[in-house]
């Protein structure tokens, strides 16, 4: 009996000690929980090129359409500064391969990208080069005419490359050139003033659309080789935190009786 009582006592003590040991001391401790968010940078991405629907040369004007896919503005700056995405575009131009107008010397070529600044020329224009004094490259001289038909150069000395105008150069390969030999290269343009840009709906891959607005649809304007800027989308101050996507659609007026060939232009999308 005594042994039983002693055993109960021992087990009781063990249990008491164990129980006391299990009690945790609660203390109030202040721990600073800070987090620093580093600002990212504003950026823009887009597809590297946009194709417009091919057309067959026609006796009447027609429209070619396309889309700039994946214009994406990302603003992880966390500053709420707002941003704008704008677009400019050059004229759509082409340069035909050269034709030999007189003589049998096929060593003259034309190079460069026509800037289109002479506009649509009834319905296209031609650079023309005519040898006026024969001889080898560096000795022979030539006259030349711009796409508008104006004689711009008189007795210009030949060289491996001579810059003409509007971004076009003429190249003389090594040969003996004969007086009155003549070559030409046609150029044509679909001006950016015939390019209607519809910025379209903005989707937010991340962030809120509040304060983020698309620009209005309309044709590009301007007088230079590059158009004036057109708004694609903007974010007001304290808006536009995140990732915003847009696919502006394009419609280009293609004039009648154009030169056949590839026409190209450069669009520049700027975010700031």
């Amino acid at each position: 009996m005594k042994k039983i009582l002693v055993s109960i006592l021992i087990f009781g003590l063990v249990g008491l000690i164990g129980g006391l040991g299990g009690i945790q001391v609660v203390r109030a401790v202040d721990t600073a929980l800070d987090i620093t968010m580093t600002a990212g940078t504003l950026s823009v991405d887009s597809s590297a090129s946009a194709s417009l629907t091919g057309k067959t040369v026609s006796i009447s004007a027609q429209d070619s359409t396309g889309t700039i896919a994946n214009v994406s503005v990302t603003d992880p700056r966390g500053s709420g500064a707002g941003w704008s995405a704008v677009m400019t575009c050059t004229h759509f131009t082409t340069r035909a391969t050269q034709k030999t107008l007189a003589g049998s010397n096929n060593t003259v070529t034309f190079s460069g990208t026509y800037d289109g600044l002479d506009g649509v020329l009834d319905p296209n224009g031609t650079f023309k080069v005519t040898i006026v004094a024969g001889g080898i490259v560096g000795t022979a001289t030539f006259d030349w005419w711009d796409p508008a038909g104006n004689q711009v150069g008189t007795a210009v000395t030949t060289a491996s490359t001579v810059a003409l105008s509007n971004g076009i150069s003429v190249n003389f390969a090594a040969a003996t050139y004969v007086t009155a030999d003549s070559w030409s290269a046609g150029v044509d343009v679909f001006p950016y003033t015939g390019l209607t840009v519809t910025p379209g709906t903005i989707t937010a891959a991340s962030g809120s659309l509040t304060g983020v607005t698309a620009g209005s649809a309309g044709a590009l304007s301007g007088t230079g080789a590059t158009s004036d800027s057109k708004t694609l989308m903007t974010a007001a101050v304290n808006a536009g935190f995140g990732d915003y996507d847009q696919a502006p659609s394009l419609s280009l007026t293609v004039h009648a009786n154009s030169l056949s060939g590839s026409y190209s232009a450069t669009a520049t999308i700027t975010v700031s």
Binding site: L52, I68, G215, S216
Partner: protein, 340 residues
């Protein structure tokens, strides 16, 4: 066998085509160096905001970052800034003539090589001319890839992306803040009313107009209030600020535009307009639906008539057959009766 090969080739081309169109170009960033930040103005972390006296020279740094996973060669250059026709900040193109801030800036380099995820600080100097006009001058430092891919064959456009760090430079003196609301008009675009506010800045500081357009129906009840789009008007410039009425509805309305640009200056203009009940597209859709409903009803009636006639004919045939059998038995019965 040939068909299988063709299908596989077409599939491969489609996959390659979709891959090519998904190639993105960009991943560049530009922002003021930490030394240029003003802790009292959070915007200085994104833009260069300076007040400089005529003749003053400011040396500063800009950070250029390559956020992509490939090395990149970039061009860096200063430009003047304008706004688009509708008031969005627009740095001018690289080849545009520089006559303002873009002309006052000299950058230590014009090209840079950046490793993946690398940031480089670039020095530049702003030299304000002695004869600089008092007021705000805007520009940007632009970074863009040096090389851009060639356009595809056919009628195509190359797409180049640029990022700019804006520069807002103020030459101190008498600041004139004067805005004029020249015109308040509207157009219907994509079945929505878009209001246009023609605003001219007649002062020498940029203005960020705020305000709203209150739209009332013919009973004078306010049906909607819309905040005008936030854009900016540069000194001596005019913009056509568009604001869409997203809840465009049919009816006769009056719109009152209130534009504020200073604490106490508010400009107002009113216009009346009418939105027809249904647009041409809606009309076409509605008439198509009506036609479908009428056609369905007619179709249903015709089907019911056919069923009716078929059933009736069958029923009539059955009656004829029955009648053909019935007279015999009655004659017999009559005969039987007579004989009895």
């Amino acid at each position: 066998m040939k068909l299988k090969v063709t299908i596989i080739l077409v599939g491969v081309l489609l996959v390659l085509g979709s891959f090519c169109s998904a190639i993105s170009y960009g991943g560049l960033g530009i922002y003021p160096n930490e030394n240029e930040w003003d802790e009292k103005n959070a915007l200085t972390k994104s833009w260069f905001i300076y007040t400089l006296e005529p003749g003053e020279v400011k040396e500063a740094k800009v950070n250029v970052v390559n956020q992509s996973e490939v090395p990149v060669e970039v061009k860096i250059y200063p430009v003047d800034a304008v706004t688009t026709k509708d008031g969005a900040f627009a740095p001018k193109s690289e080849d545009a003539e520089r006559i303002d801030v873009g002309d006052w800036i000299t950058i230590s380099v014009s090209e840079l090589s950046l490793e993946p995820n690398e940031t480089k600080a670039v020095d530049f100097t702003i030299q304000v001319p002695e004869n600089a006009e008092v007021g705000d001058h805007m520009g940007a430092i632009i970074v863009q890839p040096k090389e851009v891919p060639e356009a595809e064959e056919g009628t195509a456009m190359r797409v180049v992306t640029r990022v700019g760090a804006r520069i807002y430079l103020t030459v101190p003196g008498e600041m004139i803040k004067e805005l004029e609301l020249e015109e308040f008009s509207y157009k219907i675009e994509e079945n929505l009313i878009v209001f246009y506010l023609t605003l001219t800045n007649k002062g020498n500081v940029r203005i960020l107009p705020k305000g709203e357009i209150e739209i009332k129906d013919k009973s004078g009840k306010v049906v909607d209030e819309i905040q005008i789009t936030e854009r900016e008007v540069f000194p001596k410039d005019t913009i056509e600020l568009p604001t869409k009425w997203e809840k465009t509805m049919a009816g006769k309305f009056t719109a009152l535009a209130g534009v504020s640009y200073d604490t106490e200056k508010t400009l107002t203009k009113e216009l009346s307009f009418e939105v027809e009940g249904v647009t041409e597209t809606e009309k076409t859709e509605k008439s198509s639906k009506t036609f479908l409903i009428i056609a369905s009803i007619f179709g249903g009636i015709i089907i019911l008539l056919i069923i009716f006639f078929v059933v009736r004919r069958k029923f009539s045939l059955n009656l004829v057959r029955k009648e053909a059998k019935t007279p015999k038995s009655s004659k017999y019965k009559k005969a039987e009766n007579k004989s009895v």
